[in-house]
Symmetry: D2
Subunit: 100 residues, 4 copies
């Protein structure tokens, strides 16, 4: 089980606001309900699931601004993949909080 943390930055938007693109990304993710877990944070979108599927979703989310007419997109992805034990968003938070 892997977790990806993705930001999709549209370049050439004329205005500083990008929230319409981030909202559209959340709508795309709703199609994957039950297959992956996802969480919006103030800085990015986190998605948990099988890595192959996650990278397909990364590509789909990266396409969102192009579909809205933009010509350049800069996407940033962090992948955290741990295979000696269950690696879920919930477990990671608990593991840190138990040590504070």
């Amino acid at each position: 089980m892997a977790i990806v943390d993705i930001t999709v930055i549209p370049v050439g938007t004329a205005t500083p606001s990008v929230s319409e693109f981030v909202a559209e990304i959340q709508k795309v993710l709703q199609k994957y309900e039950g297959k992956v877990k996802f969480q919006l944070t103030p800085m990015s979108t986190l998605i948990e699931g099988d890595l192959k599927l996650l990278l397909e979703i990364v590509q789909e989310l990266h396409e969102v601004p192009f579909q809205k007419g933009l010509q350049r997109v800069c996407t940033n992805v962090r992948i955290d993949d741990r295979r000696d034990k269950e690696n879920t968003m919930e477990r990671k938070l608990q593991s840190v909080q138990s040590k504070i």
Copy 2:
């Protein structure tokens, strides 16, 4: 007002677990209570405040694994800085959620 999103990855830990370092980072941040806002997510730590102070905190958090004896640290920082309107973690989330 800027927001930074930081991950501090200690290299050479012998085991795959890094939660003790992330927990220590949360303890360091508690010193800044009232000066910055911070939030732990499953993938990183978000900090909101004056950018100059945020970058000083980035350096302090980056030092945490060295203080615990590690010899190499890879830190990743995303800065989101918007100056035409109030740029807070809370407002960013609301702006996206109002458009879903």
Copy 3:
């Protein structure tokens, strides 16, 4: 044409050195000679080509430390994708250098 910039950080290596993993990544890329362009920098590996293929390569490179026995890998990917004009590593450098 897209460009990805990838760092693959193995977690739990016992020593601070990760160059053996980076070298193995260059060997994997040699299989793709002619299909993508790639360049090693002191901080990451850059790969230029069709985005779908690039993301398949990202997954393959991310597997390298697991194949060498590691149990956790943190991979960081920046994607730059521009569709109004040819977006190559060479053209990007020239475009900046002509303006300095």
Copy 4:
């Protein structure tokens, strides 16, 4: 000795081109000639030197698009900091190339 890898993405540029901002960043860096080493790659700018100074430079480079009238900037920084041996851009490349 630390190395930082920085991309400064101006948001709200009207056009997809950002090379004028990247060129300006190289001009700012020329002021630091002799104090830090720097290298432009097709995807980012690498800077080697004392970490405290590097983070001051990060802040200065992040200001470049604001000085040109933009209202939002998303900056991404990777820090690689190794203290058991000399950590230079040149040595890192040699270390990988000797293992390919």
